[in-house]
């Protein structure tokens, strides 16, 4: 009996739990830091009456109370106000402003990877280019981003003003190429196609004069969705470094600055949105698996002799 649904179910459950568990873990980590959170945010010598502040910020009754009240407010769309990064600023507004650059950055890098994947899928990308991607991918994102930043600052690229569009474009390029992002995509898709092509049904289709891709693609879809999910999560985490170095006002930069300033409310909210995006990708993968399982008639996995 096939248990194909177990993995899909696990993905669905994880996707639902992720946005709840990530903020919760962060809140408990904050409480694990030495000193009480209210005094970390504002020491009594700088903020007289810290107890009142702690009560106001729900920091006075332990991590669960803080998490529960934060989550309750978050469900109503209220993510509170920044305590230290930009005191008084609405966190929801800052997050909303930051999501667009992050999505553009990830989408740009994703597009690059999608083109690579398409090339690998259709066989239009010459195999020798894989080596080039492999070598380029050896450069860490931090090094590549620093080089891009230097190029912008010194005026080698652009007019030296470092317009957001240029930084986004370079950022997407860095994110899409570094840390073997493009190489993994191309190589992964190529490997998948090659292994699927060896299947008997694919070989028979070739003998019948049918196209290979139209035969193997439906069978490959769940595996491709898995690759895509891994790639998007990789790009999302890489976006933090790229945004910080290239001064892009995205979600990763907000998370970084919030952590540096120990602005817990900003950190928790940003991490929540990152986990939402990861959950969305997981959900999409589960959906593809579900659709494929229900609608696609899978060929038996037998290799050609």
């Amino acid at each position: 009996m096939s248990l194909w649904w177990v993995r899909t179910l696990v993905r669905l459950v994880v996707a639902l739990l992720l946005p709840l568990s990530v903020p919760c873990i962060i809140v408990y980590l904050i409480w694990a830091l030495p000193g009480d959170p209210a005094s970390i945010i504002c020491p009594p010598e700088l903020c007289p009456n810290t107890d009142a502040l702690a009560a106001r910020w729900n920091l006075d009754q332990g991590p669960w109370h803080f998490f529960a009240s934060w989550m309750e407010a978050a469900m109503a769309g209220d993510f509170g106000r920044s305590w230290r990064l930009e005191p008084g600023a609405m966190v929801a507004e800052r997050v909303a402003e930051s999501i667009v650059p992050t999505l553009l950055l990830v989408a740009g890098a994703g597009l690059l990877n999608a083109i690579g994947a398409l090339g690998a899928l259709t066989g239009m990308l010459p195999r020798r280019l894989h080596v080039v991607f492999q070598w380029v991918g050896l450069v860490p994102s931090l090094v590549m981003a620093l080089s891009a930043s230097a190029a912008i600052t010194l005026g080698w690229i652009g007019d030296g003003t470092g317009a957001l569009g240029l930084r986004l474009m370079l950022g997407a390029l860095v994110l899409g190429l570094s840390d073997a992002a493009l190489y993994s995509t191309v190589n992964g898709v190529h490997g998948l196609v090659q292994s699927e092509r060896k299947q008997r049904y694919a070989q028979i289709a070739v003998l019948r004069g049918e196209g290979v891709l139209s035969n193997v693609l439906p069978n490959m879809l769940p595996a491709l969705a898995g690759q895509l999910r891994a790639r998007v999560v990789h790009l999302l985490s890489g976006a933090v470094v790229v945004e910080v170095v290239l001064e892009i006002d995205g979600l990763g930069d907000l998370l970084w600055r919030g952590a540096l300033q120990q602005d817990f409310v900003v950190v928790v909210a940003t991490a929540f949105f990152f986990s939402l995006m990861s959950a969305g990708v997981l959900l999409a993968q589960a959906l593809v698996e579900l659709v494929c399982a229900l609608l696609v008639r899978r060929a038996p996995q037998v290799e050609a002799a």
Binding site: P43, E45, C47, P48, L53, G88, R94, E247, Q262
Partner: protein, 527 residues
């Protein structure tokens, strides 16, 4: 014909957009850091004070031009309640940035907010010793009541006024109130904080006419990058140029160095709670081991006999130009190892080999420096460490970030350290009471780094507080200077000039002591 018209249209469009760009290009400048808040009740740093000066008006301030105590908000004043209050008649027609009228309710609201114990503000705690209350007698008349008779009550009114309508009358103001991000002031510019800077837009008012439409504050990074960006017209000014880069700025025809009178002096705070530093002779010995002339030469680049040096030695907690500086206390430009060794032996130290020991243990000093000072005096920490190590002390060196400095050092929670290198800056009023008074629950000694406590020092600080005449205040602080030079809670180093750099197309830029932007209305900028 049509082609010519099209060319003409394009030429006009290009010229028009160039003109528009030129007109709307903001005057940008580098600050040391971003402000921690735009709400003046919660100001923590010099950057905060400077930024608040652009957005708000203080009730009274010293004119940087005439040095007179004056006001842009008050029409006239009179003593009331036998000297324990002043009646302020406010100017009519002054408006907040959102157009609401400014009035006596705002003045009284500000004082009530300062007095409200639920407003978690250090500034508020200090003001509670000064203000008793405030009554709004009419729309434009406020009666400000003091806790006691002050010989110059208007000096006590250098407070920023907040709008009552922004807080709906709630005097318990919190640091994360929206106001801290989008403040309403009566100052020359309306400010809005972004993630990487602050934008200021001109806010014409009855008492302010700022001719620069938009200004942009950016966080300064590496000084070399700042100077290069200034030279390339990427920004138009730098608030503080480190000494090592001033020659570079001075050599450029398009740039001008401007003096910024900060009355700031450098020190090494000594932790007298440590067993080996408790005896004042050991602190005096450390003072004698420092060769300040070498430190100044190696870190700031001042030659031993250089004329007009930007850096002059001090022997107490005031700059030499201050009326409080006691000239009878000599500075110590070079080290005196022989006397230092005698003092250390008297204080119970033993010299084993080349190392100083106490109670059989070698003494290793943990030395910290406020990291940002490294830009002004590069490697000062290492040079101090080298000198002490050459004299026989072990050393561990640490650079302390601005956040930890504010959170740990200023709050007296950095007791791990033996020595801390820092800098204090003052305006015209050099009140050193928070630095040396015993820490107490009434807010005394709020900036006492290592919890120094000395009854004689406390008494002198009280004398200064009670002084009704300038001569009494000077007398108290002269004695304090002498006492501190003997007790040495700090090893006093030097006063270092602060210089700003501005491009020559920024004109009329009068820089006020401490607050910098007090005369912002006179500034002009031609992009």
């Amino acid at each position: 014909m049509r082609r010519r018209a099209r060319h003409l249209f394009f030429a006009m469009a290009v010229a028009g957009s160039a003109l528009l760009c030129a007109q709307t290009r903001p005057m940008s400048f580098y600050e040391e850091t971003l402000p921690s808040t735009l709400n003046p009740l919660f100001a923590r740093s010099m950057v905060d004070s400077r930024v608040h000066e652009m957005i708000f008006d203080r009730l009274y301030f010293h004119s940087p031009i005439t040095n007179e105590l004056t006001s842009r908000l008050v029409e006239s004043w009179a003593v009331a309640e036998g000297g324990k209050a002043v009646r302020l008649t406010l100017k009519k027609g002054v408006k907040w940035h959102d157009g609401a009228p400014f009035g006596a309710d705002d003045v009284c609201f500000t004082i009530d907010a300062l007095l409200n114990p639920d407003t978690p503000s250090v500034l508020g705690e200090k003001q509670r010793a000064i203000f008793r209350g405030c009554k709004s007698e009419s729309k434009n008349v406020a009666l400000v009541q003091f806790t006691k008779i002050f010989h110059n009550p208007l000096e006590r009114l250098a407070i920023y006024v907040l709008p009552v309508h922004s807080f709906n009358g709630n005097t318990a103001i919190q640091p994360d109130h929206e106001f801290a991000a989008h403040p309403q002031g009566t100052g020359p510019a309306k400010g809005a904080r972004g993630r990487r800077g602050v934008t200021f837009n001109s806010a014409p008012n009855l008492h302010h006419k700022l001719s620069i439409p938009t200004m942009s504050l950016q966080e300064g990074s590496d000084p070399l990058v700042q100077v290069r960006t200034l030279q390339n017209d990427g920004v138009q000014g730098i608030i503080a140029v480190p000494p090592g880069y001033r020659a570079d700025v001075a050599a450029s025809d398009n740039l001008a160095l401007k003096s910024y009178d900060l009355r700031s002096w450098w020190f090494v705070a000594v932790n007298q709670n440590k067993v080996y530093l408790k005896d004042k002779r050991s602190r005096q010995a450390l003072d004698m081991l420092l060769n300040r002339t070498e430190l100044r030469e190696f870190t700031i680049g001042v030659k031993p006999n250089e004329q007009n040096s930007p850096c002059e030695f001090i022997s107490g907690p005031f700059v030499q130009s201050s009326p409080y500086y006691n000239r009878s206390v000599p500075v110590r430009p070079v080290s005196d190892r022989d006397t230092a060794e005698t003092l250390l032996l008297e204080a119970g130290f033993e010299q084993v080999g080349s190392r100083w020991h106490q109670n059989g243990e070698p003494v290793t000093l943990k030395i910290g420096i406020k990291a940002s000072l490294d830009l002004e005096a590069p490697d000062l920490l290492s040079y101090i460490g080298n000198q002490l190590e050459a004299a026989g002390f072990g050393r561990q060196e640490y650079k302390i970030g601005i956040d930890d400095w504010n959170r740990l050092v200023l709050t007296g929670n950095a007791q791990d350290y033996d020595l801390l290198v820092g800098k204090w800056s003052f305006g015209l009023v050099e009140d050193v009471n928070p630095l040396f008074h015993t820490r107490d629950k009434q807010g005394g000694g709020a900036r006492n780094i290592f919890g120094f406590s000395n009854p004689e020092v406390d008494a002198l600080l009280q004398d200064f507080e009670k002084a009704r005449l300038d001569t009494q205040a000077q007398d108290a602080y002269h004695k304090l200077h002498e006492k501190l030079a003997e007790e040495l809670p700090y090893l006093f180093l030097w006063k270092l000039d602060t210089k700003s750099a501005w491009r020559s197309n920024v004109r009329g830029n009068t820089i006020s002591p401490f607050y910098y932007w007090t005369e912002l209305d006179s500034w002009k900028y031609k992009p």
